[in-house]
Symmetry: C2
Subunit: 289 residues, 2 copies
């Protein structure tokens, strides 16, 4: 396994790999690797000749009051996980390498899927994501890039970015991996206290609950949402706050509140964001009706 | 010479060329090719194994009141010029190919060199340029890309874009080519009436005049500008309007108004934009002091 910190050096190596007609599978991460990352890395290893994992906590996608500074950075542990999985290259640039000027002059905005869900509560977040992902794509030159469905809105933004900027990169959505009790894997789970962790799977259960309510076709979507919020609030006994609990179709378009009016074979998706103590957790779940 | 209109087809061809370790010289144009384009194309042919000329009048970089609709589009003449020069590929996509959605969702902004010169008078123009150039870079995958110094601010914006987004493309600045009487080549010269054309070279002469004034080191820069404006207004006898006449250093930073305070070996650059009738013409000139 080769660890690259220098952008120019990385670009020479990755261009060279592509010139030899080898394929590059790219798993962008912010480090603090967990089981879901491992599954995605293993998938990339199956599907491409060379797998590149990037580890970079991107300051540009954090708001001024967000957790950039305390975001976990267990770099050596991350490296040993990558080594165990036989990752070919880890790309781990410094912030100074990625943003050499004090000001970030060039910004990319994707004005689709905006004003809802995470974009509503994290203004500028997806611009930061789009900008760093474009940089990483230009550095790594991947054939395929893997993005988790847990960050579903991000996945759609990246797909739009790739389409609009004519990247020839196959964006591969990866299903959400969960702990045995249902909690979606996330680096931010590390923030949870033991008692918070014990109750965190209620978020997943509230999605399941909502899904079942929808499938009865007895309630409007807004009712399903309200009942699910009540369910969630009843079952998390620690301080918490629901940031959003919403339902859209799979393309994040609004859907008819009357489930019976929605045409069959539509996939809905339920989205939730919850503060459990100070930790913000998100999750989502598809519902085929 | 192969004319490509389809983006996907172009991407396969250009990726293939790069995989064979051949270099691609890219000359982005909005068509209406003139002598300066020809010189740049010849330079690219010398410096790269394959030369690609793009012809695309990019609606995104025109303001709502600007000349997008009447911008000259002599496509067949352009093709015959490219053929004559033995260009390898002409990439000429339709607007629908480049912007398939009715809304352009993804935009790139470069917040450097802003608020002055063309950016002041054409808000959004450089975002439109940055966005289309990024698309073209991703489609054509060039080794080198050629940009004229006549659009000096654009050249610096593109260099910043390439740096910030980690493109591995060598941006080659090309000196301004001029008609025998000094007028800088521009597709917009075609808009000029015969009498306007006869007086248009006063713009160039005003730059020369200003340069000479600066080099005497007897006047402040603001005085040099004022005298040059007077010179220009005196010598153009047709309806016209100076939009800007400004002096910066070569990096578009402000410079000391007192020429004697500027340290030796600094390159200044004089910039001018003039409406001659309804035609907006720009030019600039370096001054080594």
């Amino acid at each position: 396994m080769i660890v690259l910190k220098n952008i120019q050096q990385a670009q020479v190596i990755f261009k060279n790999i592509r010139t030899k007609r080898q394929t590059i599978g790219f798993v962008p991460t912010m480090g603090a690797l967990h089981n879901a990352h491992e599954q995605i890395i293993l998938r990339s290893k199956k599907e491409s000749s060379v797998t590149v994992v990037s580890i970079f906590v991107n300051p540009l996608q954090f708001g001024p009051k967000e957790d950039f500074n305390k975001y976990p950075k267990p770099f050596n542990k991350d490296l040993s996980i990558c080594k165990k999985l036989k990752v070919d290259y880890v790309f781990a640039p410094t912030i100074k390498q990625m943003y050499p000027d004090k000001i970030v002059y060039t910004n990319i905005s994707v004005k689709k899927y905006t004003g809802i869900l995470c974009d509503k509560f994290r203004p500028g977040h997806f611009n930061g994501v789009a900008t760093v992902v474009t940089k990483l794509f230009n550095i790594i030159n991947p054939t395929k890039a893997y993005f988790g469905e847990k960050d579903y809105q991000q996945l759609l933004v990246i797909k739009q970015l790739v389409k609009d900027l004519n990247f020839t990169i196959d964006i591969v959505p990866c299903e959400t991996f969960r702990e045995p009790d249902g909690l979606a894997f996330s680096s931010r789970n590390k923030y949870l206290s033991k008692t918070e962790r014990n109750q965190a799977n209620v978020i997943y259960k509230s999605l399941l609950y909502c899904k079942q309510l929808i499938l009865t076709k007895k309630f409007s979507l807004s009712k399903c949402i309200n009942y699910s919020k009540i369910f969630l609030n009843k079952n998390i006994l620690l301080p918490h706050k629901i940031q959003y609990f919403e339902i859209y179709d799979n393309n994040l378009s609004p859907v008819n509140n009357d489930v019976k009016q929605i045409k069959p074979n539509t996939t809905l998706r339920i989205f939730v964001a919850v503060y459990l103590g100070k930790t913000r957790l998100i999750d989502n779940m598809p519902v085929n009706i």
